[in-house]
Symmetry: C2
């Protein structure tokens, strides 16, 4: 039998590690012959653009480089499958290509949109009497997938954000004048990544002094009141704010919507900067961590990369044992010592759904994160990968 | 005798390494008793806010942590000394405090503004018959100080920028649609840091496809023409642009000026993004590397940190040998192997001056950088510092 694997959605530092996991596990499995990579996610399965991966991932060194290369070497997509009831043309095309290449298992590394694809495609294949299995392998820096303790890609993003926010704290604290520094962190509707800046407490940092998630609710008045009260205690106030935070009366005219119905939000950092400038008048700067928080592999979390590889490998084992339409997930047994187990859940339980940051982990002041959350986050950012360097720069694997 | 050291201007990853160099060399020197740190640059010498450093930097571990901590542990300032002819009040205050604490040498780690202070203060002290020596130790991520091959702090910034731009290239290349990604890099008037992205060629990266420095000259028309011509070859076009690039007809109403007469520039990335959106219409994103490029010690250059420490130590030796009103500098003997020597120059030759990126290293198309520049930049980003980690995050030294 042959298998195929594809990558979808926004980049992370761990998607190629999950690909490595699928690839390595397949190499170990005598029943598997060719390992195909589908170019640009499911689009490659539709257009029959497949790469035979054995001849291109040639050595242990290649596998190690692939593991630590950010983004998706196979390319990505944001393609949403139509409802098969209404239009099964692309489904037929996918089935034709799977059959042509004797592919008996398809692995889709992605987020909640990709789990929609896993759910729909597996249902279609089953309805056609096909035995081809479809398994979802989670990834997202947003950590907002239901049914899993956390998502591969999140730990590396959180580690980058923690290190960078700590460096920005140093940078912001040098002058003798009052200042406010606002750091805008990714997270469309769920504030996990912004909340994770609370791990700095473990290294005796008091900042960020204010942490705002979409789950907090925020008004201009509360923000200014919070900043003023922190200014009474700290010369350089540091604010971490999720890109998804919206003020009630904000101008939303610049919101755009993608074909999954997602709104692209931006600019809350700039908005809060403007508020401080106008109403407080001290030195103020807003900083967007932008795509760096999802691709800064040079400071990825070893725990995250190892787990991403592990969950990819588990996907292969699950498919071989006959599971389909499932997403592999993590179950946490304990924080200290950190112990997780692997499981699967129906992809339908994850598709198009979001897991929000628990309200109980937001402090009553609605501008901070609890110690319990610190214990949840800390294990995910542990360990450093020995990054391969050449000419003073990381080496990336390229197809 | 006692000595004092202060840090000034914008943060870098290497200023604390130069402080470590001064401190360590002073420890080795039996004639030196107390080593004072002046809080917030020269302001601490005026207000008599000094910290006795021996009791706070207590161990080799402390020195190693200090070396790898970004920004300035002593705080910084942007204070410009008045002309002593017109107003010597603060000079008298500084002399009084220096004398009171038996300080016979003062070390000022900073950029071209700080060298103005070194020049003026040393001239004043000499005019008063004082034997107190004043030595400048260069730093700036901008690499724009005259009379030195390069500046401490630049190599670490360039290494961060190279690693990050490479990761952004991976991130930007995942989708099958055309896109333009514009990365805005620091550099007020001189494009050194933006130009340094050319080192990616050494690791077989084709991008950034377009590199624009303030020294290039750029118009809207040329920019759009360049982008279109790159789009004929590359699906995902990557542009590196210096924050100091100005389009001739751009609205400059948001420019603000500090008390050194510097204009704060911002927004060229957003401006170019708007041009692509309006005139080309493809997917476009602009990314500001912001303060991360000057404080991301977690990926600092070992060469830079070692040299910053070395030049700090040399400052102490020069002061003891009787030099004053000088800045310590690097002379490059060769690129391959990389050999530098240390020297001094009169601070007046550096004060308030800028060294621009050589025109001969800009390609005739005015959107690229030559191989000769790659050879200049590469040695500066070599080597990694073994960063101390705790709880998965770098450990910073705090006073």
């Amino acid at each position: 039998m042959n298998i195929a694997v594809a990558q979808s959605g926004g980049p992370t530092c761990a998607i190629n590690a999950s690909l490595t996991g699928v690839f390595k596990e397949a190499l170990k499995t005598p029943v598997i012959d060719a390992i195909f990579g589908s170019v640009n996610g499911i689009e490659g399965m539709i257009s029959d653009e497949l790469i035979d991966l054995r001849p291109v991932i040639k050595s242990n060194e290649d596998m190690e480089l692939l593991r630590q290369t950010p983004s998706t070497v196979l390319g990505s997509c944001r393609y949403k499958l139509p409802d098969a009831d209404k239009d099964d043309g692309v489904y037929a095309k996918i089935l034709e290509n799977l059959t042509k290449h004797r592919i008996e298992a398809f692995f889709y590394i992605g987020g909640n949109d990709s789990m929609d694809t896993v759910d729909k495609l597996s249902a279609y294949l089953e309805s056609k009497g096909s035995k081809i299995r479809v398994i979802g392998i989670p990834k997202t820096i947003d950590n907002d997938l239901p049914e899993t303790d956390h998502t591969p890609g999140f730990g590396s993003a959180a580690k980058y954000v923690a290190a960078t926010v700590q460096e920005i704290i140093r940078d912001s604290s040098v002058y003798s004048i009052e200042s406010v520094t606002i750091i805008e962190i990714m997270g469309r509707h769920a504030g996990w990544l912004t909340a994770s800046t609370c791990v700095l407490k473990a290294n005796d940092e008091v900042a960020p002094h204010l942490i705002y998630l979409p789950e907090c609710g925020l008004t201009k008045e509360k923000f200014l009141e919070d900043v003023r009260s922190m200014q009474a205690k700290y010369k350089a106030v540091i604010v971490a704010v999720s890109e998804g935070v919206r003020l009630p009366d904000e101008d939303r005219s610049d919101v755009v919507v993608d074909n999954f119905g997602h709104e692209y939000l931006s600019g809350i950092g700039k908005t809060l900067e403007g508020l401080v400038k106008d109403s407080i008048g001290c030195k103020v700067r807003s900083i967007e961590l932008n795509v760096m928080q999802r691709c800064s592999s040079h400071i990825c979390s070893k725990t995250d990369i190892d787990e991403a590889e592990m969950i990819g490998a588990e996907g292969v084992r699950r498919a071989l044992s006959g599971e389909s339409g499932k997403m592999v997930c993590f179950r946490r047994v304990s924080d200290i010592p950190y112990v997780i187990t692997l499981d699967t859940v129906p992809a339908s339980k994850v598709a198009n759904k979001e897991k929000f940051f628990p309200k109980k982990w937001i402090t009553p002041s609605k501008n901070g994160i609890s110690e319990e959350a610190v214990r949840y986050f800390l294990p995910l950012i542990q360990g450093e990968v020995n990054i391969a360097m050449k000419n003073g720069m990381p080496v990336h694997f390229k197809l």
